[in-house]
Symmetry: C2
Subunit: 385 residues, 2 copies
Amino acid sequence: MIFSLTLNWPPVIEFGPGKFSVIPDHLAECRKVFILADMPFLNRAEELSETLNAKGIRSLISTDVVPEPPFEALERLPAQVKAFGPDAVIGIGGGSAMDLAKLVSVLFTGEQRPVDIIGTNQVNRRDVRLITVATTSGTGSEVTPIAVLTDTREKLKKGVVSRYLIPDVAIVDPELTVSMPPSITASTGMDAMTHCIEAYTNRYAHPIIDNIALEGIRWIGTHLERAVKNGNDLEARTAMSLGSLYGGMCLGPVNTAGVHALAYPLGGEFKISHGVSNSVLLPFVMVHNLPECVEKYAKIAEVIGVPGGSSPETAAKKAIRKIRDISNSCNIPPDLKSLNIPESAISAMAEAAMNVTRLLDNNPRVITLEDAERIYSNAWNGILE
Amino acid sequence: MIFSLTLNWPPVIEFGPGKFSVIPDHLAECRKVFILADMPFLNRAEELSETLNAKGIRSLISTDVVPEPPFEALERLPAQVKAFGPDAVIGIGGGSAMDLAKLVSVLFTGEQRPVDIIGTNQVNRRDVRLITVATTSGTGSEVTPIAVLTDTREKLKKGVVSRYLIPDVAIVDPELTVSMPPSITASTGMDAMTHCIEAYTNRYAHPIIDNIALEGIRWIGTHLERAVKNGNDLEARTAMSLGSLYGGMCLGPVNTAGVHALAYPLGGEFKISHGVSNSVLLPFVMVHNLPECVEKYAKIAEVIGVPGGSSPETAAKKAIRKIRDISNSCNIPPDLKSLNIPESAISAMAEAAMNVTRLLDNNPRVITLEDAERIYSNAWNGILE
């Protein structure tokens, strides 16, 4: 096999319990730091601010994080940040906080508006240092060139993809994830699992990324239930942080596919969180993709510890069921009707999903409008095949 | 398991056939580029220079690469480079060319002398862009924070380790490796294999790096003989480039161990190339390390396609033999006496190796002076056990 790939990862990834404390080491030449933090991490942000202050570095803290950020969230924040004039931006939190920080870091100067940068390679530049600090094990945004916005008018999520969104430093500190409640641990963890599975089985799957994705599936598949059951289990948290990091490392080079495409309308229209949307849809999209993914699903079965089947087909089906079982045992809603989505919404959602061509194109098996309707319908009823 | 790690890799790794041509994309904001190239790549350097010239970027080319560079090599080069005043340095070649380019990039301003930066974290800064272009599949230097110099007085290799030596862009283009003669393909390939095996079985081995190292062992173990046999086999070259890249990715976080420590005196005293020194010593050090590495060697056996043994011990021994067989079938000298090293040199070499504490400390099993003498003696006689 002859293959090519451009790998764009942050030049520094600080992984491990306690790594939050090394953030100041990466700000040596900065004078003013803007910190955007999810509210529950305000105290950690303040602690960081004090440490920086002792080193003569000023900081401005904001907790103005809107979940699944709409365009409007980027109307007031950049102006405040511009007035402060930082030379570094730090995002502390889940995907929304980190994505917002990433977007602010390229938008605050006012040179480009949010609408200008939607799509791929539309960002012109970034002049400040950018540090992401992940507090969930799910999004992987700490290492990706991607940020996602909600277009509230079109009721659809839209992606910004640019090398200028890749942080200079990613901090992945499992201790920060210990306080996550079980429901968030579960949905963000299954989101990370989805990143790995969609990268591994991607139409544009790549040997370099396959290896990372499969490791991610292994770490998450063997530790998510433990992390949900006991949030203080630092071993399980460390494993989940690594699995999530691996998921994020896949997202730049290969990116996601059908699950994410079909999840977008759930977020845009029904405000279902990104993690829950992906978790619920994952097994149903896997069933659709099965004909193209038998060998790879069989490999997934192997790494998540499902006893081997009599044939790759049997093992592949067992993998799908095991993924659904992990999701269910973590108390993720089993189907769309449990999310109070009306069955009548299916055809509009399927039409909306068809617009996410950027991700649908990555899917290992074509998803037509009819396929999307059938997948949503199965996911609504909770029918796995 | 709870674990921590700092990952420092180049923010851009361009991997694949033809990637040499994207170098100018990574020099958009540069005006003057210093190119240090191994002589056989002078024409490629000139081709690059012309492309840059058409974009208004001036360049200065040097082929002043000394193999296993001594300190003196860094006496004249930095002055020439300073006079030119580049804002980017590109190293095109094997480990020596890339290491020299890395060293020049931090030394040419004259702020620090070579002797000042020996050791870990002694480099103060780097103000120019640095791009490494690998033309062998071996060193992995294109992605490491390491450069190695020969101390001709002490007759010993000395390492410089610094985050300022990590390039901004690493170009790994298998097409550049096609012209490598079989002997260099073999020794550099076994060097890369050594990086992976020493990282995987390291005393400070790490789950994140284990995965990369084992993939490297797999790609190299299954493709080196093909690449040696037919240099134009681009599939084998691509596999070797990836294996070598993986080896390099291990070197920052975990680094090498006993093989490299024992190889240093062969280079310093007898001018045996780095690749050959490591290749010849590898199986003999593996025998010494076996008691601490049974499970990991058994895993190596698995990934390089050695039929399973009746026990992990059997599989582990088969792995050592297979590594030796690959080396031999690539026409690497089987022992130290074939390298014309006098048997009488063993005790002095063992004493010299004992000074490489930085690497000996990484070895999975303690190597005493007596152990080193025994390993050299077995390697001299070609006695695998």
